[in-house]
Symmetry: C2
Subunit: 325 residues, 2 copies
């Protein structure tokens, strides 16, 4: 396929390299001139001696997407509006990689758009850290909505990304945003609230060990980044946070009980079992129709798509006895 990748940071750069390695004709673009130069230099080095550069690097969004079938927007959420001008009249299929899906969907309204979010990352960032194997085995959310008339565009992208080794997870934008609040955004806020206990309290800092270290690790993230993630997904984060606060208040009430140890043991039993059952183990392979409702049901069950066949998709569901005990 002819594919454009807009934004050549860790995710975009890795995707450029992975798609080229899988034989696609890929054109990249980045707003930073030095990143474009780095991508051009690596293209010469990585290209086959006869056929030339491994990928092209364009000097504008419009030039990058011209003649392509798929454009991947691998820029952060605040940069997306600036990219849209270069996509005016683009007839191809657009996807993105940002960590919030509702707001991007609103921005791209009227385009052939399928929202995406590869759950891939590493400590380092930027094009120099790009790794063509980054998506091997990673979960890659691709959004579908119950009122989508036809999953053809979704299936095109799912085929593309499963062939890079990704486990493609079909969910609605709202389901994605709620799950992100649960597994990433609210955990960052809890880590921050625990870290705040160190204020004016050097004794606690001296005695703190493993449970504090792990419970607060992500609080060291730059506050601007945590705030951007949570603020971009504010309604879901507020709802999930309110539920967590309710659970904490319920633990507090159990500690006021006549027999606090028995009451709290009862309250902790389900969370403890849920955590011991995580991460879910892959269960038996499944094959489901390539239809919107069937795909969404697979995603809701914690399953994912591993290959696109004719009229069906092959995937896996997690072992339910372990995940739902």
């Amino acid at each position: 396929m002819d594919i454009a990748v807009i934004g050549l940071g860790l995710i975009g750069g890795s995707l450029l390299r992975a798609l080229a390695a899988h034989g696609h004709r890929v054109t990249g673009y980045d707003a930073a001139a030095e990143t474009r130069e780095a991508a051009r230099a690596l293209a010469k080095q990585a290209g086959a001696p006869r056929s030339g550069d491994a990928w092209r690097v364009a000097d504008s969004v419009a030039e990058a997407v011209a003649g392509t079938e798929v454009a991947v927007l691998a820029v952060p959420l605040p940069a997306i509006p600036g990219v849209l001008a270069g996509l005016a009249g683009y007839p191809g299929l657009i996807t993105d990689v940002t960590s919030v899906k509702g707001p991007v969907r609103d921005l791209l309204d009227g385009s052939r758009f399928v929202g995406g979010h590869p759950m891939a990352g590493k400590e380092s960032s930027g094009f120099p850290a790009a790794d063509p194997r980054l998506f091997d085995g990673c979960a890659w959310v691709l959004c579908l909505e119950p009122d989508d008339p036809d999953p053809a565009d979704w299936l095109t992208l799912a085929r593309l990304f499963t062939r890079l080794g990704a486990r493609v997870v079909p969910v609605t934008a709202a389901e994605h945003d709620r799950a992100m609040a649960e597994i990433s955004h609210v955990p960052h806020l809890l880590a921050a609230a625990l870290s705040a206990l160190l204020a004016g309290n050097p004794l606690a800092g001296t005695l703190a060990a493993g449970s504090f270290r792990d419970g607060t690790r992500v609080a060291a993230t730059r506050p601007e980044l945590i705030a951007a993630m949570c603020g971009g997904n504010a309604p879901a984060v507020r709802r999930v946070l309110a539920g967590v606060v309710e659970d904490l208040e319920s633990f507090g009430r159990e500690l006021e009980h006549d027999d606090p140890i028995a009451a709290l043991t009862a309250g902790l039993r389900a969370p403890s079992e849920l955590r011991r059952g995580w991460p879910p183990r892959p269960g038996a392979p499944v094959e489901v129709p390539a239809e919107v409702e069937a795909l969404l049901a697979l995603g809701r069950a914690g399953g994912w798509v591993s290959a696109i066949n004719d009229g069906t998709v092959a995937g896996l569901r997690p072992e339910t006895d372990r995940n739902c005990s």
Copy 2:
């Protein structure tokens, strides 16, 4: 010194071996006959060929403590009342190793008692896991109260444990219990509340990665153990938990702000800096008078004692510019 160690699990067993290795005459006791047998068998093996067994193992608490100067109660909090009968009339110095200090202090009222809590542990437990190097570099809380007339008994134990390589931290029982709520008990409750989000939500389990894994790790602990820790320290846990809930609600309000990203960034700045400044780095060595108030001030500043001299103690305070920014 002549020392008795009551309870030969991981902590008691390690202490028995460490004290014997440092030349003390040590007698151990455990309520379980098979643990006593294991400790006797190892004593023969570890003993010097000429002088016999490395330590003695008694068949009752009373027999173990007879003639000793110090008795260390290395049994869990609920087992302490059962041990006290064997200590009736004991003229020596008593200390313990449990993770809550106020309630034990009440139980031991009237004895020569200094509460202790070595912050040591490992994944495995029981006498077979005992390790004479377990306390090397570990923080060992020893309690003092402002109204203690004389720190002589405290200094005896501090000398004993610093020589095993421990950093001895002087704090009041109330300061210890609050710090434990902050760095261990409440973090366990937050991990449980996050784990509860997996209930009926297999999609979240499939997408969850690093921030969820670390934020929930300790929720896999047996619920009975978490409940015993928190329930044994219920007043402090409830107070700290209420403060954490207030902070979380404040983050929630920041997300309702006109500019939620700016508001939340401001709210997250202090916690993020506190976490990046942790763990505290040791600062310059200090020498303080061997007096109750001076010792407590050292502990409150996040410092610890590394050696007992004549009339003074040598210790370290953490670097303040890093810990209090």
